[in-house]
């Protein structure tokens, strides 16, 4: 910075805006100045207690708040905010899930710390300096790419949802989950930054007979899924960024695969290997686990795309409306096959429908928030939503899904969700 800028020549050392260039020295100097000031003019200053909570001032306009930098340089949400991922009770905490609190979210993106989780052997701690991605198999030259290599490559940033294929599996037989977190919380949306797989393909050279790619994680499950090569070349991303910063450990730090629209488990976390092959490897996950058992005892395999789905997040299960009056019905809609083109909302259990308004233009293979103004008259109501995507597909009812697949499929449930509002304002998961 030039010292000839206006206003800088008089007292350059006193200008706080210079401190960014010398962060450590600047911080210590400011701390000293502040401490000196405190001694001269004793003021009550905010300090966190041992649990990290701050005392609430009677009048925040009558005293200074906490010092800049008191958060250690990485901010936290307000101490009054408590939305959290929910781990349903289960046997094994290393192979469990945690669910996103959809009803607590605003807008379209999921905060990284609230992104749902599904792990197969816990969350590994990986040093990016020791992590690499090997691309091998039916290639002209097998290569290893370090994180430094990957960060140097041309990058793209795209918003996509990831949904576990087991999301909403509780609802096949009858309404079960009490809250939208329990019924639909295996869904999250992030802005992902990384490098298209097609760029890696050019670095190694693909042999003509390659048709599948086995993606492998560096977790204790060394999890593997076989992915069609045409999908990998079309829109697969090797990502290191999530919502403006490095992806979280729970999301695969330092590197994960993102396969827009595919079921969540295929987006291999802690990605360490991509092996091009002629045929799928028939890994445990793609034979014994993520296959959909039909009523006749045979199973669908390689069930990749998440079909169009929507859910009302407000009002939703376990809430209580304080009384008749105005409410904005809000929800999310998404499709693994493209853009959502239409969402309709019903307040009479599907007898009549009204088109909902989108918040912003729907993006391909991304959630979109929808809303509809509603004045509750105090009588029982059944709120539900259904969506359509750009392929023309319309979100089905539970009954039509069961008629097609039976009750043993478990995965890929995308039926419409109904919330019943009682005369007392209580909201519960109900059948249409």
């Amino acid at each position: 910075m030039s010292s000839k800028e206006p206003g800088r020549e008089a007292a350059p050392e006193a200008c706080a805006c210079r401190e960014g260039m010398f962060p450590r020295q600047a911080l210590s100097r400011r701390s000293l100045l502040f401490a000196a000031g405190s001694a001269a003019l004793p003021v009550r200053t905010a300090a966190a207690d041992s649990t990290g909570r701050y005392e609430v001032a009677d009048d925040p306009t009558k005293e200074p708040g906490r010092a800049i930098g008191a958060d250690g340089g990485y901010g936290a949400r307000s101490q009054f905010e408590t939305a959290a991922r929910l781990v349903p009770p289960g046997a094994n905490p290393y192979t469990a899930t945690s669910l996103t609190p959809l009803a607590a979210l605003t807008g379209n993106l999921t905060p990284s710390g609230l992104h749902y989780e599904r792990h197969h052997a816990g969350v590994p701690t990986i040093d990016p300096a020791r992590h690499s991605l090997v691309v091998h198999g039916l290639v002209d030259q097998a290569k290893r790419f370090t994180m430094a290599d990957i960060r140097r490559m041309p990058s793209v940033t795209r918003k996509h949802f990831i949904e576990c294929s087991g999301n909403t599996a509780s609802e096949w037989a009858r309404p079960k989950g009490k809250t939208v977190q329990l019924t639909h919380g295996l869904l999250s949306t992030s802005e992902w930054t990384g490098v298209p797989f097609s760029f890696f393909a050019r670095q190694v050279g693909l042999k003509a007979e390659g048709a599948w790619v086995l993606a492998e994680g560096a977790d204790g499950a060394v999890m593997t899924r076989s992915i069609p090569l045409d999908k990998m070349m079309r829109d697969a991303l090797i990502v290191y960024g999530q919502n403006g910063e490095a992806i979280r450990p729970e999301q695969g730090y330092p590197l994960r695969l993102v396969l827009p629209g595919y079921e969540g488990n295929t987006h291999i976390k802690w990605l360490q290997s991509l092996q091009v092959s002629e045929t799928p490897f028939m890994s445990r996950e793609e034979t014994s686990k993520y296959t959909d058992l039909m009523a006749d005892g045979r199973a669908w395999q390689f069930v990749f795309e998440m079909d169009a789905k929507s859910v009302i997040t407000f009002p939703s299960g376990d809430m209580r409306l304080p009384g008749p009056g105005f409410y904005e019905i809000r929800g999310l809609a998404w499709s693994g096959r493209g853009r959502v083109t239409r969402v309709e909302v019903s307040v009479d259990g599907g007898k009549s429908w009204a088109p909902a308004e989108f918040e912003g233009a729907p993006e391909p293979i991304c959630t979109v928030r929808f809303k509809l103004p509603w004045t509750w008259d105090g009588k029982p109501a059944v709120l539900t939503s259904r969506c359509q995507d750009e392929t023309g597909y319309i979100q089905p009812t539970r009954q039509s899904l069961v008629a097609e697949r039976g009750l043993n499929a478990y995965y890929h449930y995308n039926g419409v969700q109904c919330w019943g509002v009682g005369p007392d304002g209580s909201v519960a998961n109900v059948a249409a």
Binding site: R144, R152, F199, R284, R298
Partner: protein, 173 residues
């Protein structure tokens, strides 16, 4: 510089970028790739080794029974799933999906045990132990003979009961 010259210069610069794009990553020697070995149904990549059912019984008791149960029946408290049983249940109201009733390939069992089991020490079994415990599980499920042994030649030939129980996702309909 005229606009036409400027475009030509830009084009040359982009061309240079495209050429430079080929220089990412370092070649990997075949020996380094061994740790990424995954086993497809053909059995290509299976390691040398051999394991008998009786040896597998001992490996199972030592490494697997705590989570999967003395009789391979699964233990709800640990989340260790049942490994055998369930034949004939897949079209019923309570399907029991096990290695015996559901898994289409024996190579998948070998591949998974070798990479991910036991849960508390994944990848710690020797190849002979993986062959042996795979043989024990398959013999317990009456898929192979009680005195059988498995190696890189016999494992891919094991015919699983549900080998033809899968078909490709028919959506969109």
């Amino acid at each position: 510089m005229s606009p036409r010259e400027a475009w030509l210069t830009l084009g040359l610069a982009l061309g240079a970028c495209a050429a430079d794009a080929q220089d990412f990553g370092a070649p990997v020697a075949p020996a380094e790739l061994a740790r990424y070995a995954a086993i497809p149904p053909s059995g290509v990549g299976l390691p040398n080794g051999r394991g008998e059912v009786e040896r597998g019984r001992a490996v199972y008791a030592d490494k697997c029974a705590a989570c999967h149960g003395e009789n391979l029946q699964g233990v709800a408290e640990t989340g260790g799933v049942a490994l055998i049983g369930g034949r004939g249940t897949l079209a019923s109201a309570k399907p029991l999906k096990t290695v015996e009733s559901y898994w289409p390939y024996a190579t998948t069992l070998f591949d998974y045990v070798r990479r991910a089991m036991p849960m508390n020490a994944p990848g710690s079994l020797t190849d002979d132990e993986v062959y042996a415990v795979s043989a024990y599980i398959l013999a317990s499920g009456h898929v192979i003979a009680p005195d059988a042994a498995l190696d890189e030649n016999t494992l891919p030939k094991v015919e699983m009961p549900n080998r033809y129980g899968f078909y490709r996702d028919p959506r969109p309909k």
